[in-house]
Symmetry: C2
Subunit: 122 residues, 2 copies
DNA sequence: GGAATACCTGAGTAGTTGTTCAGAGATTGT
DNA sequence: ACAATCTCTGAACAACTACTCAGGTATTCC
């Protein structure tokens, strides 16, 4: 039912046509869109992206190893990890003085894989 | 080969251990990470996210219908669409006065679907 | 207990970003 | 050609963000 219904027209700032109404019914709610945007926003930073892909490769890394891997200060890594952990994207485990981080979710792994493939495949 | 090799230690700001070196070899390059972050950053805005999900539902919409659907000004929509189009995420088609936008890539569709499922499934 | 190490937190700041506003192209119908 | 309509563009501004810096917490080893 998403075949184009010819032209809907657009009568000066009030195009409440059938197509718009139908789309709005199926559309993600503003709240969902906000949460989706928040998720993407977290991935949308080079440092955090590198951290996540490092975890994707290594499986599990402590903070200072992450810092060395992506070449940023440990405080910057710590700030970044806090955001990712709060959002449930990474999980942590303490072992002695060190705290090991890993990807929390298989969905996130899929997302990272899919995005990398998208990037490399065109 | 990503089984954990016990603890690597972390000798004061210079933990160039084997694990770090191995991860860095496999890691996405900084350039790739930047492009990935740019991609996610584009999805990481509520307005742009809603626009993309609207296109995912409707298939194709003109600017003013998009504006009505997501309830933002047409100029804001236009600005947003320019970014998405420049990045190759959406494509456009002119028909008379109107310009119809659609998702450019099936990878993007998968990404949007996967993310929505992630959000709703936990 | 005390020093050393790994990590965290809060404040401050430079850089970035999304929106509005005003105006310019581009296309259609008369 | 002219008016109307749909879309685009550039500048200005408010809001947000990611980093650095200084200091704090938690754990281990002597």
């Amino acid at each position: 039912m998403n075949t184009v219904t010819a032209l809907d027209g657009c009568v000066t700032r009030a195009p409440d046509t059938a197509k718009v109404a139908a789309t709005r019914d199926r559309l993600v709610t503003p709240a969902e869109a906000g949460r989706l945007a928040d998720l993407f926003k977290l991935l949308g930073d080079p440092t955090r992206a590198r951290l996540l892909y490092a975890l994707l490769e290594a499986g599990e890394l402590c903070v200072c190893d992450l810092a060395a891997t992506v070449e940023v200060s440990d405080t910057a890594v710590s700030h970044a990890l806090r955001l990712l952990r709060t959002a449930g994207i990474v999980a942590s485990r303490r072992d002695g003085r060190m705290i090991y981080y890993r990807l929390a979710d298989s969905h996130v792994r899929l997302l990272l894989d899919l995005s990398l493939e998208h990037l490399r495949h065109e």
